[in-house]
Amino acid sequence: MKKILLIEPDRVLLEVYKEVFTREGYKVKSVESSSEAILAIEDNKPDLIIIELQLPAHNGIELLNELKSYDDLHECKVIINSIIPADSLGMSSAIKKAYNIVATVYKPDTSIEKLIGLASAALE
């Protein structure tokens, strides 16, 4: 069973995404912050991380930078699902490749169906 780590600071959305991906047959771990994410990853390496960049204390980019140093996460894909519009992020293809980012979506515009599709494609 593929494992997804959801990093989402809003509890309402976190529960929605958790329920949705669990129904789709994934093993889901959900956390609300970077520090919780690091602890979760140490327990159980995910196959996919779905992350909001605007996180409390340490933002998503700082977390992705930290995770880059983990040898056993090189195969782990990342989907950015953020309240920050994708075109404001100014992420080059080189940066996306370096962080293994397979998709960057604007959360308000991204339906559950679309997010499931992206996750499924990433985990094929």
């Binding site: 309402v12 929605v16 329920e19 949705v20 309240i83 339906s111």
Partner: protein
């Protein structure tokens, strides 16, 4: 600290914060409901709310910058996309929505700002319809060596009422008395266009009145 800067900052912060509950509504309905039509209604309505918020944030941002970055834009492409975004709402408000962008004209503009401005303008016009089965046209055309683009149809407004409404926007509940709403989308669009091309004007074309802005065509882009 200048009060107007404080207010702009507060407004921007509020606008950003509002995106979250609107997104929550959309996703909760998707999760909890099996009624596809209800899901569609709520997600389309939420999307237009988010468009209005993003348009507001953009118009505030453009006030604090001197201009937006420009790029070659296919105006007719933008208008087509705007019409697609408005299609569901037009149907909901019993309007027929048409697109008239038969001339393909490249301009120097800002795609995101243009799309945001025309969508918020279009939604406000569609939503402000009082008669049934009215006609709204998303249009761009060439006239006197300029390219005009705008949304036509809707309640007829005269120049004086439009000028007055710009002064009343934000302080009167109905700056355009023929509309029951604050008509915010018109003023947000006006604010965005002011930094791109020029303020919105009330124009008349083919027996229809509408709000439009004008661009100077780029001869270099036409050659490409």
């Amino acid at each position: 600290m200048d009060n107007s800067i404080d207010e702009r900052r507060l407004l921007t912060a509020l606008a950003e914060q509002l995106k979250l509950p609107i997104t929550q509504i959309s996703r909760l309905v998707e999760l909890k409901s099996t009624d596809h039509e209800l899901i569609r209604q709520i997600t389309e309505t939420s999307e237009i709310a988010l468009q209005l918020i993003d348009g507001l944030i953009l118009s505030i941002d453009t006030k604090s910058q001197s201009s937006l970055s420009l790029e070659p834009v296919c105006l007719s492409g933008v208008m087509q996309e705007v019409a697609e975004d408005l299609a569901y709402h037009a149907k909901k408000y019993d309007c027929s929505l048409e697109v008239d962008t038969s001339v393909s004209m490249p301009i120097m503009g800002n795609y995101k700002a243009l799309k945001s401005a025309f969508t918020t303008l279009g939604y406000t016009i569609v939503q402000g319809q009082t008669s049934r089965q009215s006609r709204v046209v998303v249009k761009s055309y060439k006239h006197n060596n300029k390219i005009y683009a705008g949304i036509f149809g809707g309640e007829k407004v005269d120049q004086d009422s439009f000028k007055r409404s710009k002064i009343l926007a934000g302080s009167a509940r109905q700056p355009l008395s023929k509309s029951s709403t604050s008509s915010a989308g018109i003023f947000i669009a006006d604010s965005i266009f002011a930094t791109l091309s020029g303020n919105l004007s009330l124009v008349r074309r083919n027996n229809m009145t509408g709000y439009a802005t004008s661009f100077v065509p780029s001869k270099q882009l036409e050659l490409v």
